[in-house]
């Protein structure tokens, strides 16, 4: 009589030992060439055509695919599957079509996905346990890649003849390589025998280049071109790639800039050549720069050599630079270290400097957090900031006070501070100017904010207080998702220690923003010594949202009107033009009637480009 265990045993003894999910299907077809296993809940053989449908699947080595329908032609041995999805070597993949003939399986127009990475290949050949991709287009959050062919491996992709670009479309900026390895787990692409091309011209040919796939590229455009009392052109921050450096993570950069070349020699006009080499590595930065310059004093050129050297390494900070105020070289060496045992934070420092004075400073800068409380959305804090500086040649300088803050979520914030100083700071490094401050902001989506601040200014060369600057501000605003509208008033008053007013500036501003575009109308007013009227100017500026598509462009105009003289005081326009890869900017600003103290009539042309 029929016995089931025996039948099963016989069945398996017959050699059908299948493994994997596909083998558990209701109906299974083993094909020897290509070596695949087909499975489905339903099967039909009509004439020479076998069709699998209903949770159809296909398994070949590591490849496990699901399909809507799999068709096997008995006579030709050809295999066709439709609407494929599945996994391979850690990737999920899908394709509208799969063909199998001879020993190979071929996916047409396949899409592989792993995390943020998406690979598209016009053809994927599964053969001998490997997946060979042809015409690969890959996209990560930051890059687009194209490769002629590649091999999918566990957690990665090895490609040949790869081209990568951060451009949204087109290939204006491109990295290509003979060979490259994607390591998606580490988010890296290692390019070998590569070339960096801009508009098809190879700028560099590094042998090995590492690209971080998900990090934003630090591609500051290094070329500079502008005009304003002479031409400015050259390179600024031009990367000098080293072997095995990540692309866009260059540690060494060069600046070589000609400034103010040509144009009529007016008093104060400066012509210079700026050279600087910077190197930044973990916790350390070094810059070596020189700037030979000459300035027209009305009768002759006065030449000088401005150094620009800085070394920072852990607690050490050495600077050798040029002080425009002192018109001479200044130097300093600072040693500092921060300790933060709560509630204290201490930063002792030792410094030797040659600035407006020369000497040594030993001191400590820090704060005590007296109160840090949170209760629900309420937050309260009270801190005691302080600084103490000791000089071998002079009396010590001390500064300290109290600063408190109270906040409720983002609806209310009140802050106040009061500080006193004793003695005179000898150098700007340790000088603390702030004396009194008060801030208040309340409301949402409509808000009001008030502010007041008083700061002391020192003349380090003369060794005394030079000024007290006070600023007052009021702002009313309303913001919602689409945009905002604000009206504000700001007043800045500069007084001598004795109380005499030496300068006042005031600004009334009405600003509207909608999305990324904005319109501003401002009224600038200024007074000189003892409230003598200085200027009164209306300024109107419109900044459109940046263009989004390739070929898109925007114009940002601005205009100033001198209310006293009744004429245009300034005008500007900036053209932004997008191509596939870059946003190009060409800007013009002209000052026809100088308004602000120190402002001179003149024209400036700026040229800039950035990666979109």
């Amino acid at each position: 009589m029929f016995t089931r265990p025996f039948a099963l045993a016989l069945f398996f003894a017959a050699g059908l030992v299948l493994a994997g999910a596909c083998a558990d299907s209701d109906v299974v077809l083993e094909v020897e060439r290509p070596p695949v296993l087909l499975g489905a809940s339903e099967f039909e053989l009509d004439g020479g055509t076998a069709t699998f449908f209903g949770e159809a699947c296909l398994q070949s080595g590591e490849v496990l695919l699901r399909a809507e329908r799999i068709v096997f032609d008995r006579d030709s041995g050809a295999l066709t599957a439709y609407q494929i999805s599945g996994t391979y070597a850690g990737w999920s993949l899908r394709a509208p079509l799969l063909r199998g003939q001879g020993g190979a399986l071929v996916l047409i127009d396949a899409v592989f996905e792993q995390g943020d990475a998406v690979l598209r290949a016009s053809r994927v050949l599964f053969e001998d346990g490997e997946a060979m991709l042809t015409n690969i287009n890959a996209r990560t959050s930051r890059y687009r890649f194209y490769a002629e062919r590649g091999l999918v491996t566990n957690g990665g992709l090895r490609v040949q003849k790869v081209r990568a670009t951060p451009c949204k479309c087109g290939r204006a900026l491109e990295l290509d390589a003979e060979r490259a390895t994607f390591r998606f787990e580490r988010g890296e692409l290692l390019l070998e025998k590569s070339a960096f091309r801009v508009y098809g011209a190879a700028l560099a040919r590094p042998r090995r280049l590492l690209l971080e796939l998900d990090e934003p590229l630090d591609l500051r455009f290094p070329l500079r071109l502008g005009y304003g009392a002479g031409w400015t052109f050259g390179v600024e921050g031009l990367p000098l790639p080293a072997p095995d450096e990540s692309f866009g993570r260059w540690r060494t950069r060069l600046t070589l800039l000609v400034e103010g070349l040509g144009g009529a020699p007016v008093t104060g006009k400066t012509e210079a050549l700026r050279f600087a080499l910077t190197h930044v590595s973990e916790g350390r930065s070094f810059r070596f720069g020189l700037r030979p310059a000459r300035t027209w004093d009305g009768a002759s050129w006065r030449a000088r050599l401005e150094p620009d050297v800085r070394l920072r390494d852990g607690p050490l900070d050495f600077r050798l630079g040029w002080s425009p105020g002192l018109q001479r070289t200044v130097a300093s060496l600072t040693l500092t270290r921060t300790f933060a045992p709560p509630p204290l934070r201490l930063r002792p420092f030792l410094r030797i400097a040659n600035e407006s004075q020369t000497g040594v400073t030993a001191g400590v800068d820090g704060r005590i957090a007296v109160l840090e409380r949170r209760a629900g959305a309420w937050r309260a804090g009270l801190r005691l900031p302080f600084l103490l500086a000791l000089y071998p040649e002079a009396a010590p300088y001390a500064w300290g006070g109290v600063r408190g803050e109270l906040a409720y979520a983002d609806r209310l914030r009140v802050g106040a501070g009061y500080f006193e100083a004793y003695g005179m700071p000898r150098f700007g490094y340790e000088a603390r100017g702030v004396r009194k401050l008060f801030t208040f902001k309340a409301g949402r989506p409509a808000w009001i904010s008030l502010g007041f601040r008083e700061e002391a200014r020192y003349d380090f060369g003369a060794g005394h207080l030079s000024r007290y600057d006070r600023s007052y501000a009021v702002e009313l605003g309303y913001a919602e998702r689409g945009g905002s509208l604000t009206g504000s008033w700001r007043l800045g008053v500069r007084r001598l220690p004795a109380g005499q007013v030496v300068g006042v500036s005031e600004r009334w501003l009405l600003a509207g923003k909608r999305g990324d575009s904005g319109l501003e109308l401002a009224w600038w007013r200024g007074w000189g010594k003892d409230w003598i009227p200085g200027y009164s100017e209306l300024r109107l500026a419109y900044a459109p949202a940046p263009p989004e598509c390739a070929g898109g462009w925007t114009l940002a105009p601005s205009l100033g009107w001198d209310l006293w003289r009744g004429r245009v005081s300034r005008a500007g326009i900036e053209l932004t033009l997008n191509d596939c890869c870059f946003a190009w900017k060409l800007g013009y600003n002209g000052v026809f009637v100088p308004q602000l103290p120190g402002e001179a009539a003149g024209h400036r042309v700026r040229f800039g480009v950035r990666l979109r």
């Binding site: 029929f2 299948l18 299974v28």
Partner: protein, 216 residues
């Protein structure tokens, strides 16, 4: 004289079974108590009504009830079969086969199984236990064949191998049968996991019917 008398007796006996005709190879022993006739040397039995012949090395039968045969080779309309043990139940016209069962139908040749049942009138054969065939090369837990219409049902687990094409079709789900339809004219086979409901009901009905039956 004695031998001539025996022959006359035999002819009389044969004549008494209108449906079955008996051609013994040797002796024929009739047990008056049970009504069972034994052919110890075997013989050929013809069921004229159903065009069935059984050629066996040993036969016993009881008129209108059954035929029991050992080392039997048989032929009926559209089917040939052989087995070590054969029982033919006359009222049901059901042949039960056990041990060394081999069947040949128009569609499947050298079909072997542990047990088989043939419903002569319906033209349906049910095979169970290690079912396998050489042409086409297949294995199944059980097989039901309507050998006149060419409809075959393979019960899982089943396996079908085509060496020429290098393919093997298999099914493991006991609730899913593979339905094969042989076209006698074109010699082509169509197959599907979707069995037309009326065919499924009819053919699986025969499987149900043999479940309770004893093997010969």
């Amino acid at each position: 004289m004695k031998r001539a008398g025996m022959l006359i007796f035999l002819l009389l006996v044969a004549a008494r079974f209108a449906a079955l005709s008996i051609e013994p190879y040797g002796d024929q022993v009739f047990d008056l108590a049970t009504g069972v006739t034994t052919l110890p040397q075997g013989g050929v039995i013809h069921d004229n009504e159903n065009d069935l012949s059984i050629d066996a090395g040993y036969v016993e039968y009881k008129e209108d009830v059954y035929v029991l045969a050992r080392k039997a080779r048989s032929e009926a309309k559209d089917i040939r079969f052989a087995a070590e043990k054969l029982r033919y139940d006359l009222p049901e016209q059901l042949v039960s086969l056990a041990e060394g069962v081999v069947l040949d139908t128009a569609q499947v040749k050298e079909l072997k199984a542990q047990n088989a049942w043939i419903f002569i009138e319906a033209g349906v054969a049910v095979l169970q236990g290690g079912v396998q065939a050489a042409d086409p090369e297949l294995q199944a837990a059980a097989l039901v064949s309507d050998y006149r219409t060419g409809e075959v049902l393979l019960l899982a687990p089943y396996r079908y191998h085509d060496a020429g094409l290098g393919i093997t079709l298999a099914g493991k789900n006991p609730d899913k049968q593979l339905y094969l339809k042989f076209d006698s004219k074109t010699d082509e086979v169509s197959a599907s996991s979707k069995v037309p409901p009326e065919i499924k009901k009819r053919l699986l009905g025969f499987v149900e019917r043999v479940k309770a039956r004893k093997t010969p």
